[in-house]
């Protein structure tokens, strides 16, 4: 599989090489993470061409800013993903179309649908196999709250969009996410 990660890939060394102007290091990083970064961007943006634009911008940025990477602040791999996710989320939010429902509209959504969603214990994501060290902490969250977190992080949905998706009031979704983040922070401490 061309997408398989090389578990021994040294991200910090690759970034150092990039900072020193060695293109081969950027290309190695691209071969290592390009498909995964594109997958992350495409899931957020729901558009292949747009996602490729973001990955293009991300690698240009990685090349230019590799010298500013500070290994004492976090992993090289995390840095690369943060650059890509931030570019994608900025693009997504900056071009947001005026489709968000406001508080009133969200609260007025069909009650039966809302009740169904609240009691929904199904998982919207297949997270157990892939969430790694986060899996036990995700396990502790109620499924609907876990879905909120994953809809946001993986799919880039806003509070309003999640409220629409789940048929739950906007305020409830905000509270679920806030408490889920607190729970995750404690669990992952």
């Amino acid at each position: 599989m061309p997408n398989r990660l090389d578990p021994d890939f040294d991200y910090e060394a690759a970034l150092q090489e990039c900072a020193a102007g060695r293109r081969a290091a950027l290309e190695a990083l691209y071969r290592q993470e390009g498909p995964r970064l594109l997958g992350v961007a495409q899931r957020l943006l729901r558009d292949r061409a747009w996602a490729e634009d973001i990955v293009h911008d991300a690698f240009v940025k990685i090349w230019k800013q590799a010298g500013a990477f500070d290994a004492s602040r976090g992993s090289g791999r995390g840095w690369v993903y943060s650059i890509t996710r931030n570019l994608a989320l900025n693009a997504l939010r900056d071009t947001a179309r005026e489709t968000d429902v406001d508080d009133d509209a969200a609260a007025a959504l069909d009650a039966r649908h809302a009740i169904e969603a609240w009691h929904d214990t199904r998982d919207a994501f297949d997270w157990r196999a892939s969430a790694g060290r986060m899996a036990p902490c995700l396990e502790e969250l109620e499924p609907v709250r876990r879905n909120c977190v994953l809809h946001a992080y993986v799919e880039g949905l806003t509070h309003s969009e999640i409220a629409q998706r789940l048929g739950a009031p906007l305020g409830t979704v905000k509270a679920w996410i806030k408490r889920s983040l607190q729970a995750l922070r404690e669990c992952l401490a």
Partner: protein
């Protein structure tokens, strides 16, 4: 329970929502600006990025198209060659703030909002796809066209809808001639109190220039006599504007169709 603890929680909560991605555009930018001078927020964001990183595994890998890596190399080469690397990267990355090496490298601050249509990613994406659509449509239109003067390069622009990429209009132009023909190839819905305004911008122009209001569904010839000759890659778009056109001389409404000039061989 005490105040410092609360303050820490607020920062951490904001950082968590930022990394999760739920903040709207203005709040995202506020966080990115604040990170340039707020070490606590920067550290909180870094912790959240590390915590949530495993969730990136939930997105399946997507094999990039074969042209993506050459495109990255091309951008780096162009930046290097012209010695304006910094400016180009900034332009391309759209509103990214000046490199601030004192800031956390994991999350770049972003500059003030620049929601201009002409530097939006959506715009560039559309233009790229429009170019591909042009190639596809050219195949069908070429066969129907009488042979033209071989020495005069001809340009075609396929204007596509930004979201659906559905082609809506074709612009045809003879290089050296001072007019373009705008031909509808699909129905365009325009609200009764709005109008379609046609714009163009070549590389190096400060901003788009209005080519006037367009009636949906009707072919029209538009004089370009006050403009420089058409260039390859010149951009064209139709935006939704007030009935009498944009009041400020540049696009104010949403892009309906967009594309860039492709030279026919």
């Amino acid at each position: 329970m005490n105040a410092p603890q609360d303050a820490y929680d607020d920062t951490d909560e904001l950082a968590g929502e930022y990394v999760l991605g739920t903040l709207p555009a203005d709040a995202r930018r506020a966080v990115q600006t604040r990170m340039t001078h707020d070490a606590a927020l920067r550290a909180a964001v870094a912790r959240w990025e590390a915590r949530l990183l495993p969730l990136t595994n939930l997105s399946s890998p997507v094999e990039p198209s074969a042209s993506l890596w050459p495109r990255i190399v091309g951008t780096l080469d162009a930046a290097q060659a012209k010695g304006t690397a910094h400016a180009r990267v900034q332009a391309h990355a759209r509103g990214q703030a000046q490199t601030n090496t004192s800031a956390a490298p994991r999350s770049r601050p972003i500059g003030p909002p620049k929601p201009g249509l002409w530097d939006s990613l959506m715009f560039w994406r559309s233009v790229a796809v429009g170019g591909m659509a042009a190639v596809l449509i050219l195949g069908s239109t070429l066969a129907l066209r009488p042979a033209s003067t071989p020495s005069a390069p001809q340009y075609v622009v396929v204007l596509v809808a930004p979201q659906s990429q559905a082609p809506g209009w074709v612009v045809q132009a003879q290089a050296g001639q001072s007019a373009v023909q705008l031909v509808p190839i699909a129905a365009t819905e325009v609200p009764p109190d709005r109008a379609l305004e046609f714009w163009t911008k070549a590389d190096g122009w400060a901003g788009p220039v209005s080519l006037g209001l367009i009636k949906p569904g009707e072919p029209v010839v538009i004089p370009l006599d006050k403009l420089p000759p058409l260039e390859p890659n010149q951009l064209f778009e139709l935006t939704l504007e007030p009935k009498t056109g944009s009041p400020i001389g540049k696009p104010t409404g949403p892009i309906q169709f967009i594309g860039r000039a492709v030279k026919m061989l």
